[in-house]
């Protein structure tokens, strides 16, 4: 049992007013792949570095398995980390890089060689074992960094944006490789990224952070379907969810010329708090095109064709003002620029958030 537990873990940088990580609570299961995601400066890397022992935990505790590691130095935590720029030791060969931790730990040479060779085979690095990092390509360096982590057989893998320095195609390829490798090894992994696609595709669970605060920690599917607040709703998913502030009226929320029916309970919650409007969230694919002229009128500005999908970027009118709306449309039958189309959200696929607090109101 080697899960990782953050209990009210906080980190305040000296001289900073606001904590970089504020009372983080996470319970990561044994063998789980957890992705920390968020915009830059949200504290995701700091959270990881706190677990690594590279940043001081100013309050709270962090446990790996049963062991409290809050104030242990990095070397006593039995972790391995992959850095964004790989941090390979430039004066050592690939084999020496991968075996360094074992060498320090005093493992016999033959055993080190065996383990390094096994890891190299797994990562297809065998022919590069004698090379220096300088003589490797970006993707190969990335694999060496992975190998260095694997060879140690640590309790936890920490990965700090390990794919950011790769080109787009290689990134997608490596993404799958890392995920499958992790499943095969079954080692608890904490992975930091700013790319929500990476988060959604790789993680067993995804934790979204913003301004040092945990917004939501859930499975990718669940997070997509039930974002806990406006921030998560807007952050997860590409293109982003439409988030439109609209006044509450009888039976739904009002757009100019139409009323979009939404869940009564959530509207009731909002009005009981004295709020006269809510934020309606609808994913681009949750709109139905209506042919009879009912629904929200959207004037199409741009159409993005991606092959399988097409997205229409348009404007709708709410309370006399323009709001931007993104709608997924039929890729074989795209609307023309300037055309006015009418859409209605699919029933049960609307999200209602409080305009004041940003919290989710609908179930």
């Amino acid at each position: 049992m080697t899960g990782v537990i953050y209990e009210d873990a906080s980190c305040v940088y000296p001289g900073a007013e606001r904590p970089a990580v504020d009372k983080l609570n996470l319970d990561i299961q044994d063998g789980e792949f957890l992705v920390l995601v968020g915009p830059s400066g949200c504290g995701k890397s700091t959270s990881l570095r706190m677990l690594a022992g590279l940043e001081e935990v100013t309050a709270g505790t962090i446990r790996i398995g049963e062991r409290d590691v809050t104030h242990l130095p990095p070397k006593d935590r039995d972790i391995a980390m992959v850095f964004q720029n790989y941090a390979l030791y430039p004066h050592m060969t690939v084999a020496e890089n991968m075996g360094f931790a074992l060498k320090i730990a005093g493992v016999p040479k033959t055993e080190i060689r065996q383990k390094v060779e096994d890891a190299a085979k797994l990562l297809e690095l065998t022919e590069y074992l004698g090379r220096k990092p300088k003589a490797l390509s970006g993707g190969q360096r990335q694999r060496v960094a992975m190998g260095r982590a694997i060879v140690r057989e640590p309790k936890v893998f920490l990965m700090d944006e390990p794919l950011s320095n790769l080109d787009a195609k290689l990134r997608v390829q490596t993404r799958t490789q890392i995920a499958s490798l992790q499943r095969r090894l079954g080692i608890t992994t904490v992975y930091v990224t700013h790319d929500q696609v990476e988060a959604m595709t790789m993680g067993d669970r995804v934790a979204v952070l913003k301004d040092g605060l945990l917004q939501q920690c859930d499975t990718p599917r669940h997070m997509y379907e039930k974002p806990a607040n406006v921030f998560v709703a807007g952050f997860i998913g590409s293109p982003a969810m439409n988030l439109i502030e609209a006044p509450i009226v009888e039976g739904g929320v009002a757009f100019d010329g139409t009323v979009v029916p939404v869940d009564r309970d959530s509207l009731g919650q909002a009005s009981s708090r004295g709020e006269s409007s809510v934020t309606l969230g609808v994913r681009p694919e949750s709109f139905d095109l209506t042919s009879d002229g009912t629904g929200i009128a959207v004037i199409v500005n741009v159409v993005e064709e991606l092959g399988a999908d097409a997205f229409a970027y348009g404007t709708a009118k709410v309370g006399g003002g323009d709001v931007d709306v993104i709608v997924r449309v039929d890729a074989r039958n795209t609307p023309a620029k300037g055309e006015t189309l009418h859409f209605l959200p699919k029933p049960g696929e609307t999200h209602i958030f409080s305009t004041v607090s940003g919290d989710r109101l609908s179930q």
């Binding site: 070397k75 720029n85 941090a87 931790a101 320090i104």
Partner: protein, 298 residues
Amino acid sequence: MSATTASWSSVREPGAPTGGRGNRDKPKKWGNPATYFVALLFIAVCIAPVLYIVVGGFRTNSQITTSPAGLPRPWVTGNYLNVLSSNTFWGEFANSTIVALASTIGIVVLGLMVSFVIARYDFKLKGAMYSLFAAGLMFPLVIAITPLYIMIKDLGLVDSLFGVIVPQIAFGLPTTVIILVPFLRAIPKEIEEAAAIDGASRLGFFFRMVLPLSGPGVVTVGILAFIGSWNNYVLPLYILDSQANFTLPLGVQAFSSQYSEDTAKVLAFTSLAMLPALIFFSVFEKRIVGGLTGAVKG
């Protein structure tokens, strides 16, 4: 950063035009004669005295008087052989070597330690400490020679090689620290963190990462220290009294006053005394420049 360089180099195809007018493969033409004239002039100014001394050692005194600028005719090796077979020369040579090596080791070891702390630890007055070492550059040994002599005397190190070595280490540190601190700072922070996670302590990081990675910088400061010590004249002049402890520069001085009539022999002695430093410098010259400009690439 390094990944992009790798992809750049792979993009360039062999035989692809390298830009410009494509005349790079043609044999280089002779440039402006004026450039050569000026260059040769400077080279002559630099080399002529050295050459005169070295060649002068191959002449007899009468040759020097009759034709001071001509080549020796015949070449006489007696002066050199005479010097090489003398105990004085080898004694002084040994003293110089001991002093230079000890100073170099002291400067490099202590300088590296100081630089490591200043470059990679965070503590109060770090900037002040760096400035203090830098300020040492503005404080030449010659100015401090009298108080220094008193201190050495109090330490009982007068007429001892240690009396030369210790101050040389002290006065060699500023240059070393100034060269090495930026060098060590350039080692990426992530490498230190990766080493920490891999189980290296701070000292382990110093010995396993910093030492091998700072190689070029260490070579540079080592050579500068060695040559500086080899050529140092003022300090040994004050500290060393007995001929048995003389270093080569003092030996040259003593020899030339002792054999002031035998110019050829003095020239031979002088050239033998300065050759090691000269050879040392020309062999390592490239690495000195490399160490001054190079940083660690991850």
